[in-house]
Amino acid sequence: MIAESGHYALVLALGLALIQSIVPLIGARLRDAALMNVARSTALAQLLFVGASFTALVMLHVNSDFSVANVYENSHSMKPLLYKITGVWGNHEGSMLLWVSILALFGGLVAAFGNNLPLSLRAHVLAVQAWVASAFYLFILVTSNPFLRIATPPIEGRDLNPVLQDIGLAVHPPMLYLGYVGFSISFSFAIAALMEGRIDAAWARWVRPWTLVAWIFLTLGIAMGSYWAYYELGWGGWWFWDPVENASLMPWLSGTALLHSALVMEKRNALKVWTILLSILTFSLSLLGTFLVRSGVITSVHAFATDPTRGVFILLILCLFIGGSLSLFAGRATSLKQGGLFAPISREGALVLNNLLLTVACAVVLFGTLYPLAMEMLADFKMSVGAPFYNLTFAPLFALLLLAVPFGPMLAWKRGDLLGVTQRLLAAGVAGLVAVAIAWGWASGGSTLAPLAIGLGIFVIAGAVTDIVERTGLVRLPFATVLHRARGLPRSAWGTAFAHAGLGVALIGIVCETTWNSEFIATMKQNDVAEIAGFDVKLDGLLQRQGPNYREMIAQFNVSRDGQPLSVMTPSKRSFTTRGSSTTEAALLTRGASQLYISLGDATAEGAIAVRIYYKPMVLMIWWGPVLMAFGGVLSLSDRRLRVGAPKPARAKQRLQPAE
């Protein structure tokens, strides 16, 4: 019964979404408040029913009900409970159900907390949200029903892909989807604005928190996915420029651009049309990502199953929404009132440069992702576009962007003083140059570009610090005043500083890891010692162990440095009997921001085993950076000005804030 109830709840959600797609719009046309308010109730009811449907699927997985095809294909009765739950979205049907659940969640949040929105705007936003939802409910019900029964239920399931049996699956997909799908809100706001033909600074103030929430989750989701790939796949890579990774990077780039352009719109009432376009593009890229991953156009660990009908269906959704929204944009954009102009050297000008570089970088990634597909279809030859391509294209553009990052927050609105800002950034520049010199002297050999990139990272971090120092008057003013000003500083200013510093931190991590990574690969026998980056790694022995649904071979290593024992590391190789496949569980030893990484290869008949040991300097900074960025986002989100549903700040409060 659970499966049927779940299925039925999903059908009801589709019905509600269809009502929500049409009735509020009629209400807006007739200026009928009751009809417009239907959107609110249906959005909340939709959330309830999709939630019920999702819960049903979770229960089926937890109960190991193998009469349901989805459970049979992806679960096993011996699987630990955590993976029974996470396995719900470790497959195509379940992950699409998670997708619509999150969509309904965002719709419900707008309905519940959007009381300060004008009634007709809320009606429009929720209607657009329901269009997207209807399309995806139909997709699930027609092509990927997770509640399908099997006529003759098997006794045991086929188990989840072993690579996915990891805590990462509990975190990475939900976070990523919260990001992807979160951008549907800014999309709906943009379409609503175009339909209403009205857009102002207040619109940007409503959109920005939603965009920020989506961006925070997307940032963490991408970082988490990268760390997961790093420790689970067993070869120490953390980014492969795989089309699926690009599919998540593109919405991040354009979403970051959107965050910044919405700022200009909110503060200066400029860049309106551009912000609308970015909202549309960001969600379109999210949809494109869904298409690339779910249609089987490309194969990767993320593409669970390939089925042409699914691909065609998603392609239709894609064309409908991207084509429809862009035509609406083309038709209506000119009718939106243009905002004020500004001098090229100003905060707005800097934000335009930011947008320009981010969108162009995004376009480059899009090109690199789609070009091989296009060539395969048109010219019938296959090729791959990998890291070398992006190193030559994406990296220089991003380097330019990073060079400009410290200047942006320090320029004044309307008309800035570039010379003055340069002088104030002198200390940061000097810090960067010193870092270049130190890195140059310390690293004998390696890439000549690496020290420069490290200097750039230090410059970005120092620039963010300088901005805060300037604003609080540290150094110049007495300490008590500084503290007072620091407290009075808008949270968004702190957010900016953290997010920008995060960029620098990630850059340093990336450069150090790629340039000074050391590697040791050999077959080792018992008591063999490997020497790597000053560590002595001794193989103590191999032992076998039986896990819940796998057997594993554990190698025990004793790590010491200069004769001092440090730690014991136990990488293992698990073989999963049900799927007949194996995974490599790497062992990690963290020393500061650096890590020692051991993974195992095949064992030979004589009791020796192939071992891969890496020493990765500063590798953790790659993920600390995004965490800092997300933290900055959270700080900015808690800023009074942006708080969802916050009343307009009182005048007295405004006077207390220091001038920006």
Partner: protein, 181 residues
């Protein structure tokens, strides 16, 4: 600055960045993309030594030899032609004779493909798409390759043979080694 001048500055700046990006992309396209070939294509086109490409096909059964210190050699075949491959390092978990494989590297002077990467695959039923397409084109495709574990509602036995002894029955067609014989 007048309105017009300001606007021109911004448009000019945008065009400059776009031009820069276009130049970067065109430059990168010249020598940083890697083409995909099968052994047959390599034989027909006389690929010059040292030019990097991706080689895809099936690992010829019985051709895998492990040398000292993780050096391995094997042959990649696609039904019509074979190409010897040399690699040093740890093979991916799912590397098996008779299975599809994609390796990246270049030919040496003796016509041996020196691979520096052998792509790791994540599922025993996984067939690299490039390999599958190439095999289809050359008529060596059997429907059971790359069986779809989460495909349809029916619990079909479309699993493949694997040395870990999966309980599902395997049809004669399901034997992936049939293709290269």
């Amino acid at each position: 600055m007048t309105r017009k001048q300001r606007r021109m500055t911004i448009i000019g700046g945008s065009l400059a960045v776009l031009a820069l990006a276009a130049a970067l992309v065109l430059n990168a396209l010249r020598d940083s993309i890697v083409f995909f070939s099968t052994p047959t294509m390599v034989a027909e086109k006389h690929v010059e030594p040292g030019k990097r490409f991706r080689l895809g096909g099936l690992v010829q059964p019985g051709s895998l030899h492990r040398g000292d210190n993780l050096a391995v050699t094997f042959e990649v075949a696609d039904g019509n032609a074979k190409l010897p491959v040399a690699y040093k390092g740890i093979l991916p978990d799912l590397f098996r004779e008779g299975q599809g494989v994609v390796a990246e590297g270049a030919l040496d002077a003796n016509g041996v493909f020196k691979a520096d990467t052998v792509l790791a695959k994540h599922d025993e039923t996984y067939m690299p798409k490039d390999v599958a397409d190439a095999l289809k084109k050359q008529g060596h495709w059997k429907d059971d390759y790359g069986g779809k574990p989460a495909d349809s509602g029916k619990p079909s036995n479309n699993g493949k043979t694997s040395d870990a002894g999966k309980p599902v029955a395997t049809t004669a067609q399901g034997n992936p080694q049939g293709a290269v014989r």
